[in-house]
Structure formats: C-alpha cells, structure tokens
C-alpha cells in the first residue's frame, strides 16, 4: 500500500510539473477516428479558344474525371452542379462557389492546338477549402491522337498530388483476348490502355497463347504459345510486333515466364519427364540455369523488385503453397499457411506485399499478404478469380475472373488493395491473364 502511494505521488508530481510549466498552452486533442469516403472534386471542361479545342477540352476533362472516379478515392461533382464557370485559365478561382458545392479539389485546364497535330494542355489543381493551389501549374505537350494520354498524365498528377500515391493512369495492359466456346476457345494477345481504350492485337488466334508479361520498361512482352504444338516461351517487341522463341531445351515444355527487374533475365517453368522446375535464362546469351530440383511442381515465379528474391508456387508440401527463395540459390521458405491452395504469387512493385490466387472451399480469391506471409487479406471471392497483376503504383490489382458453367466467360477486373472498388475493366471480347505495364514516359 505504501509503495502504491509512493508510486502515485511520484506519478502526480511527474504529471503536474509539465502541466504547470506549460501554463496556458494550446489545447491538445488527438484524432484517431476519421472517415473513409471518396473526395468530391470538380473538373470543368478545359478551356480553349477554338471550337475543335473546346471539344478536346471536354474530352480531356471527361477522361480525367473517369480516371479519378475509377480509383474509388474520388467522386466527381457533375458540371451541371457548378456555380461558377471557368472561362479563362488565368482568372482567379471563386473558391466560395466551389466550397458551396463541396468540391474539395478543383482541376482547371486549357488546351490549344497548333493545327499541325500537336496539342498543348495546361492545368492547375486547387485545394478549395484552404483556398490554395496545390503545387504549380503544369503544361503537357502531345499529339492530337494521343489526347487520352495527355488526359491520363494530368489525372496522374492530380491523383499523385492529392493522395501522395504514384499515378497509374498513363499505363497499358497486355492480356489474352478470348472468343469462342469454352472447349474451342480462340486466344490472342491484345494490348490496351489501362482503362480498356485503344485495343490492338499482337498475335492472331491460330495458336493458344497464355499469360503475357511486360518487361520492366514495357517495351517487350514474354508469353507462352502453342504454335509448335508444344508450349514454348516467346519474347515479343511491342513496337515492331516482332517475336522470337526463347531457346529452351528441346522436348520440354516451358511456360510461366517473367522478367527480372533489370529486364535481362527471364525466370520460368520448364517441364521435363513430367517434373516442373524453375529455371532462369539470360535473354541475351540464351544461357540457362536450373533453380530448383524437387520432384514436386515449381511454377509461377515472380521476382522481388530488387531482383534478389523469387516468390513462387510449389506443391512440395502436398498442396500448392507459396515460397520465397533467394534468386541465386534453391533454399526456399514457405510463406503461405492459411487453409486452402495458393498460386500465382506476384511481388508488388513497392516490395512490401505479394498478391496471389487462393482456392478455398470451392471458391477462388485474390488476396495479398506481406512477404513474410503475415497479414493475409482476401480481396475478392468468386467462382474463379486468378492471375493478379499490380498497377505500377502498387495500389491496385487487376486479375482474371471467369464465370461458371457452359457459357462461362473470362473478363478482367480490378480492385484496390484495401478490397474496395472492385470493378470490371471494359473489354470488347473475353479477356484473361492481364499484365500491367509500368507508367509510360
């Protein structure tokens, strides 16, 4: 009891001293609970002095709005609700008018065309409630055809300036376009903007093609094709659409390729005598080396962003699980311990998380976990979800979702790593196996 009193006394003294010393200091409160909701923003049409420019300005504004809204972090206040109109890029902003409609961020811009196919776009971002411009205004120059990219770049700047996250709108996705019934499905490689616009096809559909993967600079694509009748790995140059086969061993199957972060090495699966193991190949010299020798299946390898480690899928424990090994040696440690089967791990570009496919109780999930296997979090659930790929900023995951039954179709979906904002990526045909490019230059 005595001891307790002493402690109390000491505590009181300790407490009282700073309190007395601080006198009439500021009132201190701590805020730990907040809300999570999309931030309302307004993006009036970009102003222009020509009729053609005005249409462009309207289109650019609508793509910016779609980009921001599509993140789930922002909510557009429609133009019809705007009180003041932006008629000149340089006239002062009437903050009160924007506050009145609760626009917390305002994006204004101007676009001009030089008549020779080039456009110049300027934009500014405002924090309406503090009445300040966020950062300095910027100017972008591009081609008339590339107006969507200009819009994406503006949206990337806005997103990045407000959230602090890197942007991801000016990026592309390579995927497998699918058509035809399930048992005769035709597949070919397609490439498109992240939002589904500007689709081009890179191969025809005479052979099955699988799982394209972008190089770290986005200029090349690795994929698996059956054009010889056997699955083999090819590397394709996106600009020229030229391709060549990777010189893997004869009489083997090779698949599941991915680039190393420096773009010089490919890690892949090779099957020989029914046994699938991991190999790497120097893409310049064609020299290969074997990483694993277990009699189990080792597949779906993916490098860490620093290139030092590889995460992969193996059924050495009896069911498919995730393992991490050093990029040079075969010692692997298991990281997945939840109930169910794990596959197609992909290291996030930030390096902190691994996205994966999980099969449990007859359903498929896309999930993320830390690289030590902790904090597993399932983001989706459906009949069949698989093959996650990371947005360049590591905040969003795109994946394949296939519907059930005889009319089953594959399509692409994206989801925020918080599990919010699950939505389908618009594609004109069936689509699977997305791979997200880095941000374009």
């Amino acid at each position: 009891m005595m001891r307790f009193m002493m402690t109390l006394l000491a505590a009181l003294t300790l407490w009282a001293m700073p309190a007395l010393a601080q006198g009439n200091g500021p009132l201190r409160i701590e805020i730990t609970e907040g809300v999570i909701e999309p931030m309302p923003f307004a993006v009036p049409d970009f102003v222009s002095d020509s009729a053609a420019g005005q249409e462009l300005g309207r289109n650019i504004a609508s793509v910016i709005a779609a980009d921001l809204t599509g993140t789930g972090l922002f909510r557009q206040i429609p133009n019809s609700a705007h009180i003041s109109r932006i008629t000149s890029f340089d006239s002062p902003v009437q903050y009160a008018d924007w506050r009145a409609i609760n626009a917390q961020a305002l994006i204004t811009g101007a676009v001009s065309t030089d008549g020779a196919g080039r456009i110049v776009a300027k934009f500014r971002i405002y924090d309406v409630f503090s009445g300040q411009e966020l950062g300095a205004g910027q100017q972008l120059v591009g081609t008339q055809d590339g107006w969507r990219r200009i819009a994406h770049k503006v949206a990337d700047q806005v997103y990045s300036r407000i959230t602090g996250e890197g942007g991801y709108f000016d990026s592309r996705v390579v995927f497998v376009a699918e058509s035809g019934p399930k048992d005769q499905r035709a597949k070919r490689l397609g490439i498109m903007d992240y939002d589904g616009a500007n689709v081009q096809y890179l191969t025809d559909s005479t052979s099955i093609v699988l799982a394209p993967r972008f190089s770290p600079t986005g200029d090349r694509v690795l994929y698996t094709s059956y054009e010889t009748g056997f699955p083999r790995i090819y590397v394709l140059d996106v600009a020229s659409v030229g391709r060549r086969e990777l010189p893997t061993q004869d009489a083997t199957m090779s698949f599941a390729p991915r680039f190393s972060p420096n773009g010089r090495t490919v890690v892949y699966s090779l099957t020989q005598g029914g046994n699938t193991d991991l190999y790497t190949m120097d893409i310049g010299t064609g020299a290969s080396s074997r990483l694993t020798t277990a009699p189990s299946i080792e597949t779906a390898p993916s490098y860490s962003p620093d290139g030092s480690q590889i995460v992969f899928e193996s059924d050495r424990s009896g069911t498919p699980q995730l393992y991490i090994m050093a990029a040079g040696d075969g010692e692997a440690r298991r990281i997945s311990f939840g109930e169910g089967r794990y596959g197609t791990p992909v290291w996030s570009p930030r390096g902190d998380l691994v996205a994966f496919t999980k099969q449990s109780k007859g359903r498929f999930h896309i999930g993320v976990m830390r690289t030590d296997g902790s904090e597993e979090r399932l983001l989706t659930a459906s009949f069949l979800d698989e093959g996650p790929t990371w947005a360049p900023n590591g905040r969003v995951i795109m994946f394949t979702r296939e519907t059930q039954g005889e009319q089953g179709q594959a399509s692409l979906y994206s989801v925020d790593i918080t599990g919010r904002n699950l939505k389908q990526v618009p594609t004109s045909t069936g689509a699977s196996d997305p791979s997200w490019s880095p941000l374009q230059n």
Binding site: I208, G229, A256, S269, G274, I297, T299, T344, L384, E406
Partner: protein, 170 residues
C-alpha cells in the same frame, strides 16, 4: 455392368464428343488421324489397325482423380490395350496430351497435365513402346472436352489422351 461394357460406352461417348470438333488442337507437326477416319473398312472402327479402332475400341484416354496423376486399374487396362496396339501398328507415333479441370490456376494445371501425360508415357514405355515414338504435351485447363462447371464434367476433363500421328517424322 462389366468394366468392359462401361469402357465401351464411355469410349463411344467420348468418341462422339470428340467428333464435334475436328482440328481442335493446333498440333503444328502432328497429323491428327484420330478423327480423320474416312469411309471404307480400312479406316473404320472395325479395322483393328485403324486409328478409329484405337480411339473407340482400345480407348484413347484415361481419367484421373482430382490433383492426381496416378493410374487406376481401369486406366491401366486401357493403357495395356494402347501399348498392344502401338506394338502392333509400328507406323504410328503418338502425342500424349495431359489435361486438367478448370479448378486450379493456369500455371499449376499446365504442370499437373504434364504429370498426367508423363504417367501415361512411362506406363506405355514400361509395356514396351519405344520412347522415341511418344511425346508429351500439357494443355492444362485450356482445352476441356466437357464445358459444364461441375464434377460430372471435371471428371472427364482430368484426362490424358493418346493422339496418334503417322510416321516417325516428328
């Protein structure tokens, strides 16, 4: 019902199913003769040396349990027949295609299909078929033969099919 009659019915059913989509695979250098049986006795199922006979009477495929690549006794009977036929008809080579059902990731299923095809290849080699007449390939879950999403179809999709090709060319 005897095993034999079951097998016969199964084979006939599968043969019919297979007939719905000739040229379903893109085997660049393997000539798929299984479905190409023309008119006349020589190519018909009654001719024991015809690919049609191999496909329908001997049975060109074996089925597997979930996640498994081991050959059950029923499969071994079929494969014994295949081995005998291949030993008799030495002009043919074969590509063994391994398949998986749609439950599983694309990559894992490719590897699993390869295991299944390999199990068949090793069995046939064990029965005397020359290794250089056999090749294996896996389609994973890319080419289901049945397209419903339940076990009735999955069971038929977890298969290894021995596809005949003419000559020792490939």
């Amino acid at each position: 019902m005897t095993y034999l009659s079951k097998t016969l019915i199964l084979c006939a059913g599968l043969a019919l199913a297979a007939c719905t989509n000739p040229n379903r695979f893109d085997d660049g250098n393997a000539v798929d003769l299984n479905n190409g049986a023309g008119a006349g006795l020589a190519g018909s199922a009654q001719d024991p040396s015809s690919p049609a006979y191999f496909q329908q009477t001997v049975g060109d495929r074996v089925l597997f349990a979930v996640d498994q690549s081991t050959l059950g006794s029923e499969a071994q009977v079929t494969l014994d027949g295949q081995a005998n036929w291949l030993m008799t008809n030495r002009d043919f080579t074969a590509v063994i295609e391994g398949h998986a059902d749609e439950q599983g990731t694309r990559e894992y299923n490719l590897a699993l299909g390869a295991r299944r095809a390999n199990a068949v290849q090793e069995y046939l080699i064990g029965r005397g078929v020359s290794p250089n007449r056999l090749r294996v390939v896996s389609y994973g879950k890319e080419r289901p033969i049945e397209i419903c999403s339940n076990e009735a179809c999955y069971a038929k999709n977890r298969r290894a099919v021995t596809v005949l090709a003419a000559g020792l060319g490939s």
